[in-house]
C-alpha cells in the first residue's frame, strides 16, 4: 500500500527455502502456476497472503515469498476469513489438500462458499493423505486400496465440484497440476472473481497414490474450454461435475453470471477502509449514548 508499485516478476515470489516435496509431486506444478498467475496479475508480494492447513500440500506457503500462514489441519478457511475481513485489500489465497479441505475441514468449506468470502481456494487433490503416508481420503475412489482400506475403500467418493455447486459457490473450476498454463488461467480468473472461488487441482501423489497417477489423469481428462460448455449454466456445470470415468473434465465448470457480492462488500463495518486501518477509539458522545442504553 505504502510501497511504490514496482513491476512484479515470477522471481519475486521465489523464496530461499526449497520445497520439500518428493521429486515428481504434483504440488510443484501447483506452486509454479501460482508464481506465474501472481506475477501476471501484478500482485505485490506484500499484498498477498497465502494460507494453508496441514499436509504436504499445505506446506506451500513456506515456498512462496509473500505473507503466509500455515494454520491447523482443516482450519485454513476460518483463519483466511478473519484475515480477509480484517483487511480486504489483501489478496487471500487458500491452499491445502483434499484431506484438509474435504475431510476435516469440510464444514468450513461449505460455509465459506455460502458466506461468499472473497478467497481463492486451491485444493491439491491427490485423493490420498500424503503427509501421514498414504491413508484413504474422502476423495479416494470407492474400492481403492490404501493403508487404511486394505480391502478397498467402502465409502462413496466425495465430489467437491457437485458440493461446491450445491453450496452456492460462484466460481467452480478444476485443473491438473501438469497443465500449468491452463492452471494459470484458472487461478487468474479465480483471483479476479469477487467472491469465493474454488480451484480443485489434480495433483498426483507419486509416492502413495498408485491409482490416480499422471497417467491415470492423462488418459481421462479433457478440457471444458475445448467443448461447448456453458460456464454460466448451473445445470451444465452439475452434469460435468458428475462425470468421472472414463472421461474427467477439467477447466471452468461454473461462473455465476449474476454473482452475489462478496461478504466483505456487504458488511457495514468494512465499507470505506479496511478494519485494520480504521480508528478504533469511540468518542465520548457515542460512549454516553451506550451508557444511556443502560439507564
Amino acid at each position: 500500500m505504502t510501497a511504490p508499485a514496482t513491476v512484479v516478476e515470477v522471481k519475486d515470489f521465489k523464496p530461499e527455502v526449497h520445497s520439500d516435496w518428493c521429486p515428481g509431486c504434483g504440488d510443484f506444478g501447483v506452486l509454479t502456476a501460482l508464481f506465474q498467475a501472481c506475477a501476471q496479475l501484478q500482485i505485490q508480494p506484500h499484498n498477498l497472503m497465502v494460507i494453508s492447513g496441514i499436509g504436504c500440500s499445505s506446506n506451500l506457503p513456506g515456498f512462496i515469498r509473500s505473507y503466509g500462514a500455515h494454520t491447523l489441519h482443516g482450519r485454513l478457511l476460518p483463519f483466511a476469513t478473519g484475515c480477509k475481513l480484517a483487511n480486504q485489500e489483501m489478496t487471500i489465497i487458500g491452499t491445502g489438500g483434499d484431506g484438509d479441505g474435504y475431510g476435516i475441514g469440510l464444514n468450513h468449506f461449505i460455509q465459506a462458499m455460502r458466506r461468499n468470502i472473497d478467497v481463492t481456494y486451491i485444493v491439491m487433490n491427490n485423493e490420498i493423505y500424503g503427509l501421514t503416508t498414504g491413508q484413504v481420503s474422502p476423495t479416494s475412489e470407492t474400492g481403492m486400496k490404501t493403508k487404511t482400506s486394505p480391502h478397498g475403500n467402502l465409502e462413496g467418493m466425495l465430489n467437491p465440484m457437485a458440493l461446491a455447486l450445491a453450496a452456492g459457490c460462484g466460481f467452480v473450476a478444476r485443473g491438473f497440476s501438469s497443465q500449468i498454463k491452463h492452471l494459470v488461467e484458472l487461478y487468474k480468473a479465480g483471483i479476479e472473481h469477487k467472491g469465493f472461488a474454488l480451484i480443485d487441482v489434480f495433483s498426483p501423489c507419486v509416492t502413495f497414490n498408485k491409482l490416480n497417477t499422471y497417467q491415470y489423469f492423462k488418459e481421462r481428462i479433457y478440457k471444458l474450454e475445448d467443448e461447448d460448455h456453458d460456464t454460466g449454466s448451473f445445470h451444465a456445470a452439475m452434469d460435468k461435475a458428475l462425470e468421472w470415468d472414463p472421461k474427467i473434465p477439467i477447466g471452468l465448470f461454473y461462473r455465476n453470471p449474476d454473482p452475489r457480492p462478496p461478504l466483505d462488500s456487504l458488511d457495514p463495518a468494512l465499507t470505506g477502509q479496511p478494519l485494520v486501518h480504521q480508528d478504533y477509539t469511540i468518542d465520548s458522545e457515542t460512549r454516553g449514548e451506550l451508557i444511556r442504553e443502560f439507564m
Binding site: 520439500d20 506446506n59 480484517a86 478494519l275
Partner: protein, 621 residues
Amino acid sequence: MSEPEVIVGIGGAAGDGTASAGNTLVLSMARQGIAAYSYNSYQSVIRGGHSWLRLRFSAKKPLNHGDQVNVLIALNQDSLDRHLQELPPGGVCLYNGAKFQPSYDPPARVQLCGLPVPDLAPDSVRLPVMQNTVAVGAAVQMMGLGFETLAAVFETTFAKKPAVVQKNVEAARNGYDYAAKNFQPLATPLHPTDQKWAQSSGNDLLAMGAALAGCKFYAAYPMSPATHILEWFASHAKRLGICVRQVEDEISVVGMCIGANHMGVRGMCATSGGGFALMSEAIGMAAMYETPVVIINVMRAGPSTGVPTKTEQADLNQVFGASQGDFERVVIAPVSMGDCFVTPAVAFDVADKYQIPVVILADLLLCEGSETVATEVLDVEFPIDRGELITTADGSPDEPYLRYKDTPSGISPRAIPGLPEHLYVSGSDEHDEDGVLLSDVFTDPIRRKKMVDKRHRKMSTILRDLPAPMLEGPADAETTLLGWGSTWGVIKEAAERLTAEGVSVNHLQIKTMIPLHGDEIAAVVEQSQRLIIIENNQSGQFARHLRAETGIVAHGHIRKYDGEPFEPKHIVSAVNDIIGGQEVVDVLSTEPGFRTDHPTGTSGSWEGLNQVTRPGVPTKA
C-alpha cells in the same frame, strides 16, 4: 447494613414476563439513585416452567442477591405456593387476587396483598402481563417511593407506543394507589439518592468494555450464558463499525478471530465450556504464532451440556490445560459485573504486548445477572497499549525483518501483514526466528529450545501488567477468606457480617488466575492463622491450582456445585463450621420449610441438607 434494603422476588413461568417486570422495577430504582443487583434462577425452557428473579435494592450498592426475599411478586399459582413460605416476618406477598389464592397460611407477620387486578387494569383480561404492571406499581408504593419515576420508565420502554405507555402508567398508578390505601408499607422504606446508575449485565459490560478497548472484530457461535455478548455486538455493529459475524461453530469462530488479530485488528470471541473445548486446538496455534487473541469463557454448570442455565466455577482446569504442549497463556476472572467492563481492556493490552492468548473466565452469575454500575465507572477512555506492533513501513528496514526474533524480553516486534519488506509466514509448527519450520530440518534441538525459551521468557515480566490480588479487611485477621472471580461480592458481604459478629476475618479475592501472583498471596496467607477457600465447584479447582503454584494448603474449603450461587448466609455459617473444626463444607441451596412435597418443587427434604460436611481434603504438605 445500616442502609435500608429490599429484596424482591418475582416468580412466574417463562413467558409470564418476570424479566420485564424486574427490568421496570430496576430502572425506576436506578433513576432515583437506588442501586440494584439481580439474579434469575431459570430453567432451560422457552415457555412454561418456573423462573425466579431476585432483585436486591439499596442505596448502598448490593454486591449479591442476598439471603431471603422480603417482597414476593407471584405471577402464577405455582410461584405463590413455592415462595410464600420463604418470606420473613414483615414480608409482603403481592399477587393477582382475582386469579390466585395462597394454598396455605403465610408465615407469621407476612402481609398477604391480593390485588384485584381486573378492577385495577381492565386490559388484563386480554393482556395477562398487565397484572405485572399493577404489582410493580404496588411494590414501588410499599417501598416508600414516589410514582413519577416509574411512569417515566414506561415512557422510555414503550417510547414508540404512546397507547401502551398510557395503559401501563394507568395500571401501575392504580396498583400504587390501591397499595397506599389497603396495605402496610414496608418498615424500612428506601430513599432516593443523587447517584447515577446504569443497569447492565456482565455480558453487556464485557461487550461494551471490549468495544471501548478497540475491539473491531467479534465472531461467535451462540451458547448460553455467553450469547448476549454476541447480541450486544450484533446490535451495535453498524453504529460502532465493528465487524460482527455469527459462524458455523466455535472452531471457525476462534480461527477467524485469530486471523483478524493476526492482521492487526483487535478481535474477540466468547463462548461457554463446550464451545471452549472446541476452541482449544487453535489456542495452541495462537501461542505458536505469537498472535494475540482474547477469548471469553462464560462458565455454566458442567460437565458436558450440564445444567445450561445454572452457574459454576469449574472450567479452570479446562482453560489451564487447553491444547497440547507447554505454552504461555493468561487467564483473568472478573470479580464483579463492573469488573467485566474493565477486564477486556486489560486482556487486550496484555495479549497485544505479550503476543499471547488471553482467556477471560467469567460465569453465568456475572454474565446473566445484572447490577447497577455507577455511570462514572463506565464513562472512561481506556489507554490502549498495543505493544511492539509495526503498522507502517517506509523504505527498507536496516536489517532483515525477523518475525520471531530472539530478544531479551522474549517479545519480537510484530509487523502486520501488508507491509513491504516485512514478509513472513507464521506456522503452527515449531519454526526459527524467520518463521521457517524446524520440522523440515532433520533435528534442531538448539533452535527448538531457543524458541521455547524465547516464548517462555515473556512470562517473567507479565505479572506486573496483570491485576494483583485484592486484600480487604485487616491484614492481621485470624482467618482469611479466599475466593476467585464472581464470588467477590458475596464473600465481601459475608466477611463484613462475620466481622460484625466479632469473627476476625479478612478477604482476598483473586482475579488473575494464570499466571498466579504467588508471592503476594503467600504474603497475605502467612499473616493469618486460617485460610478458607471458597469456590463454586465440587473438586476445588482453585485450591488445587494454588497448591500447585505455591504449596499453600487451606485449612478449610467451602464449595457449592448444585447450580445455584452462594448467598451470604451460606458463607457466614460455613465459615463458622470450619472455625469449629470442619474441613470441607459443601453448601447446598434448597427451598426451606414444609412444602417440599409440592409437585413442581424441589425434591428431597431440607433437613440437614443445607450444608454437607466432607472430610478428605488434600493432606497438608
